[in-house]
Amino acid sequence: MASNSSGGGSSDRQRIAQQRLSRIAGHLQRPADGSSAIVAAECKAQGSRADVPGEEKTVPRRRQEVMKWNGWGYSDSRFFFNKKGQAEFTGKRYRLSGLIIPGLKDWFEGTFGASLQHKTPATPILNSSAVQPPNLNEAFVEEVKSAGIPFSHDAEDRVFRAHGHCLHEIFALREGKFGRVPDLVVWPNCHNDVVKIVELACKHNVCLIPYGGGTSVSSALECPPEETRSIVSLDTSQMNRILWIDEKNLTAHVEAGIVGQDLERLLNESGYCTGHEPDSMEFSSLGGWVATRASGMKKNIYGNIEDLVVHVRMVTPQGVIEKGCQGPRMSTGPDVHHFIMGSEGTLGVVTEVTMKIRPMPEYQKYGSVVFPNFEQGVACLREVAKERCAPASIRLMDNEQFKFGHALKPQVSSIFTSFLDGLKKFYITKFKGFDPNRLCVATLLFEGDREKVLQHEKQVYDIAAKFGGLAAGEDNGQRGYMLTFVIAYLRDLGMDYYVIGESFETSVPWDRVLDICRNVKARIIRECKDKGVQFSPLSTCRVTQTYDAGACVYFYFAFNYRGLSDPVHVYEQVEHAAREEILANGGSLSHHHGVGKLRKEWMRETVSKVGMGMLKSVKDYVDPNNIFGNRNLL
């Protein structure tokens, strides 16, 4: 089926061209003057000529070349238990790559009651024949083709864009099950391509679902099963250029398909950064951040996406929406950017964004603090927020998560380091009297001038000392941040052995942080028990962001599903209950993951009936025929 696709051939050709291009050494294109006419001209040329002396592309059109089809991240990077039963991480991309992690097995077996004997391997190969044949709108396809926009209805391409990374999505893929998938994938190369595609979609009444990095965890990419029109996935990954950098105003104008790591790398080459680093930044895209109101780890210095965005361009069925100037703040009625940010692909496609940039920091330093208990840790974070002296990042892990992080320690290279570790442990637990089953750790990341960083560091450690905190070294801090990048890979490992899990987040006022952490964790444990989960689940949390008036809390939850007939359903029930608990304890529906379809049912109580009506009326005006029909949010 794939072979008879006309798009397939064209995309192959393109791929070869891309690969060739990627070998051309080059630098960032000189800033263009941003006029759309010129951009369009470049764009037109793109399909066949090497006009973009681009960097090596992280995300090719055929994602399957570098990424897993049924798990997280790069194909070459994964955890596995070797013959000796030791965990290893493959590949070369990460700090953990190629290392042995001796503690993981015991922690894994001890925490989940799992056993290496009981495997649940995934379906190895994507079976294209199990994918529904595409329901193509021929007229639309013809016109896309004549517009010279690459497209494909290859089964693999379509499956890749039919899901995010919710547990149920990945679980189904591992079992080789596919629900409704997009019927066509298109890869616009620039803003004007998008304008054309949206125009054609309106003309032929096809459903468009924008696709950025595919890291959604809110079922936002799921095709609505009730959708009868042809569904076209609009993959922005090829719109990944920095169009200009304005050093006077410290802004950069960037195509929205660029993924986080490319954006940072390219800016770094010019000595700048955005500082926006969500945990998914390897794969998530700028457009996706805008569409979901993303938050970055270092928001304390750089701000969240809404603070970073200066100008946005979005293509809607009614036309293009954008502001007429780049003023840093305006009093011009409700900010139209706020209809765009968080619209989750229901109104249109974000194509270009002007973002604030900063000179790259001179100095970075990790750090960590051990607290005797979680209460003290939260009190310290609260104080830090009150003093408004939060480092670039400050996160507080609870005891379970601290143990988890500990289990991920790679094999130590020398006897000396292991001796030092032992000594540290002795000092903290025996000398300082910290209970190893209660202590918790805050990880810190400082950024800026060397001198200021050291000053800042002292200030933060002084506050921590008031709450019984002990400095616990850079290494612990750095490992804490590494955990966030490999956690998704670890989930795949768990899924090989009957363990499923997920994370979810919320934001909550300071006075409720402790209560929400305790209650949600307890609720998860109770719900698991009630639902017949045999082994007590991993139910852990961390405070990942501090604000003046509250904090962002992240929950991790995983359990061993042996003996359950429908583990995903159990998982969903528990997650549902946990979300109810969050809301009942004054937490928000989401801090930065978004609503998607997963959390839609709570939107009304979140924004009130009138609020829903407002959002609905915007949708009705902008997209009366529901071209952007992913049915998120409302």
């Binding site: 006075d511 305790r518 307890a522 304890n585």
Partner: protein, 685 residues
């Protein structure tokens, strides 16, 4: 653990209950001193950070809640903040417990001695103790014992000490504190004292509620209080008071704890120590003032046999599961939690429903002794003979036969009856009678209620020169004491009895008619008995189910047919409710005929009592127990609730009762079956 089924309506026969162990047995066989001094290491709440009583106080005084209210009070009164703070500290000082293990040990020793003298046994369900222990470990716990005697909380602490469980802090009324020394002793054994009324005192309320919540949230100790608010003088469960329950539920509703376990505890005394005291009180004969020596002074008390006590620790009830799908906890999200707010209507009705369910759970696990059945029969017989003008009392054989019949019936209705199986029924009845020999007289196989307390007047002796009124009151003391034992069984028969009476009074045997009548009666009596609000249909169905199941009733196409053998059951059931029906009618009549325009609430009880005495003496009313002020107050409360009587507020006429005579009259007629229910219902609306 804490199951959602606090109380299930369906087949009561299927109720499972634990077995009992006698804790006095060990006391009789080993040293009390060693027992009092033994190592005491209770299981504590898993998230407890230990803290001294003084730290607890400062936590309360430094709480945001209290600070907020203090600043409010300052604004309102213009007082200085530190003055108010001092006042708050003084309130707390007056209130707070000072639990000391040494005092507890002292009590453990002395109570062992006292209990062994007074009681044959103290039986406790050990499985309940295990459940409680588990609950204490998992979540903050609230103990909710039934309240029939001053003994209750000493007994509770004694049992918890015996089983090595965490000792509770107990909300006690201020009146105890006036008993010098004893008050302090109680304080040191874990009691804290609250004023009976502090209506508008914001500061007092704030200190008090914060104190209770602080203890509870941190899991320092189980909190114990009495849902019924006060000792029930009638041995019927009292309708629950919501104040403290509101306070203890608050930390859960506001998310400050994951869950709270409420543990209903049913304490049944075979003989209540305060038996005669209560009867006197209900009759308006003033009770002796509480004094240190008061309770145990009378040597008579110590020399008597008070039978056994049964203490049943019920299934812990999770507040979380009670609140599930009932309360939207998000309502607390928009205002800082330390700012006090009056609970909204939904919270109020939730707490109210929960309170009823909990009192029902207490009722369910009350142990019934054979005496309770025997005395019910004797009372009924007494009144029937009175009407027929026959000789008072009944033959022992007949009483035994009836008791056996009633035993079987009550078992079918799910009663928690302790009827010894290995003893012949006649012995069971005899021994019951002998334990309560102050209340009954047996001679030559003939049983009747004692006619006067203390010395019995034999039939041959000439009537002494006591005025009839005084003689009546003396008789009433006996009758009310007996009624209080019968009342212990009321909750078993209540729903079927309401149905039986409804069938009796309804104009036809049509199901809808009967239901209307049932619903009317149930509504009328909802201050008198524990009837969960809004559960009319369930109660009706339960009653139908029981009567049909036991073959007393058939339902043929929406028609109720009483079966041949059902007549006896229905006759018993209607008679058990009859005193209340008559009583309410008399109160109505009083309000229509005899009440003056200026009658105040305070004057109500003496006036109605006078009216009733007149009626009884002239033979127009046969139920002496109607003299119970409890019944009179309950009927007034019902009439107030139904709007047939209004209470004026404020001004010179504060507390004056305004009677809607037409409505009261119609209610009286409906109760008497003279008026179809429909009309009364309409009148009410």
């Amino acid at each position: 653990m804490a199951s959602e089924a606090v109380y299930t309506h369906r087949d009561p026969m299927l109720k499972k209950r634990d077995d009992f162990e006698d804790i006095l047995e060990e006391r009789r066989n080993s040293s009390d001193l060693r027992y009092a001094l033994r190592c005491y290491t209770p299981v504590l709440y898993k998230e407890l950070t230990p803290c001294k009583a003084s730290e607890l106080k400062s936590m309360v005084l430094q709480s945001d809640q209290l600070h907020y209210v203090i600043s409010q009070v300052c604004k309102e009164t213009g007082m200085a903040a530190d003055e108010v703070q001092v006042e708050a500290a003084a309130i707390l000082e007056e209130m707070a417990h000072r639990l000391q293990l040494s005092t507890v040990r002292f009590f453990a020793f002395t109570l062992s001695k006292v209990f062994k003298t007074l009681f044959r046994s103290i039986c406790v369900n050990e499985e309940g103790i295990q459940r409680l222990q588990q609950a204490i470990h998992e979540h903050p716990v609230v103990l909710l014992p039934s309240h029939r005697s001053y003994m209750d909380f000493l007994l509770m602490s004694y049992i918890l000490y015996t089983y090595d469980l965490a000792l509770p802090v107990i909300a006690a009324g201020m009146d105890f504190m006036s008993m010098k020394f004893v008050g302090e002793m109680l304080r040191m054994s874990g009691a804290f004292f609250i004023r009976r009324s502090f209506g508008g005192d914001k500061l007092y309320w704030a200190v008090f509620s914060e104190y209770v919540k602080t203890i509870l949230k941190n899991g320092f100790a189980p909190v114990e209080f009495f849902l019924e608010g006060t000792r029930s003088r009638t041995c019927k469960s009292l309708t629950p008071k919501l104040g403290l329950l509101n306070i203890v539920m608050d930390p859960f509703l506001k998310g400050e704890v994951f869950d709270i376990s409420l543990v209903p505890v049913s304490i049944t005394y075979e003989r209540v120590l305060e038996e005669a005291l209560y009867a006197r009180e209900l009759l308006g004969v003033p009770k002796p003032k509480e004094s240190t020596s008061g309770l145990f002074k009378a040597r008579k008390v110590l020399s008597e046999d008070y039978g056994s006590i049964h203490v049943y620790f019920g299934q812990p009830v999770s507040v979380r599961s009670l609140a599930q799908k009932r309360v939207d906890r998000c309502q607390f999200n928009l205002i800082p939690r330390h700012i006090p707010r009056k609970p909204g209507a939904d919270i109020h009705s939730f707490v109210n429903d929960s309170a009823y369910r909990l009192v029902r759970a207490q009722e369910e696990n009350m142990v019934l002794k054979p005496w309770v059945l025997v005395v019910s029969l004797l009372l009924q017989n007494h009144h029937q003979n009175q009407v027929a003008g026959q000789k008072q009392g009944m033959a022992l054989d007949e009483l035994t036969e009836q008791a056996v019949w009633l035993r079987d019936l009550s078992r079918q209705y799910g009663a928690f009856l302790h009827w010894p199986d290995h003893v012949s029924p006649s012995e069971v009845v005899s021994s019951s009678l002998s334990l309560h020999r102050g209340l009954v007289r047996i001679s030559e196989g003939w049983v009747q209620l004692a006619s006067e307390q203390g010395g019995q007047t034999g039939p041959g002796e000439p009537r002494s020169a006591v005025p009839p009124e005084e003689e009546l009151l003396n008789q009433a003391v006996i009758t009310l004491s007996c009624a209080s034992y019968r009342n212990q069984a009321l909750h078993i028969f209540l729903r079927p009895a309401l149905l039986a009476s409804a069938i009796h009074t309804a104009s036809s045997s049509n199901k809808q008619e009967v239901y209307n009548s049932f619903s009317f009666l149930r509504n009328m009596f909802s201050n008198e008995f524990i009837l969960c609000p809004g559960a009319t249909v369930q109660d009706f169905e339960e009653a139908c189910f029981l009567l049909v199941k036991t073959g007393a009733l058939q339902i043929n196409q929406q028609e109720f047919v009483v079966t041949e053998r059902g007549h006896r059951t229905l006759a018993f059931l209607t008679s058990i409710l009859d005193p209340f029906l008559q009583g309410y009618q008399v109160v109505c009549r009083f309000l229509c005929e005899d009440a003056t325009e200026a009658l105040t609430e305070k004057q109500f009880v003496p006036a109605v009592r006078k009216f009733i005495i007149k009626h009884i003496l002239t033979g127009r009313l046969r139920y002496i127990e109607v003299l119970s002020s409890d019944l009179q107050k309950n009927s007034l409360a019902a009439l107030l609730r139904l709007g047939a009587v209004r209470k004026l507020k404020g001004g010179e006429e504060q507390g004056t009762l305004k009677v809607n005579k037409v409505m009261v009259n119609s209610l009286e007629d409906t109760l008497g079956g003279k008026l179809p229910t429909q009309k009364a219902v309409v009148a009410r609306l």
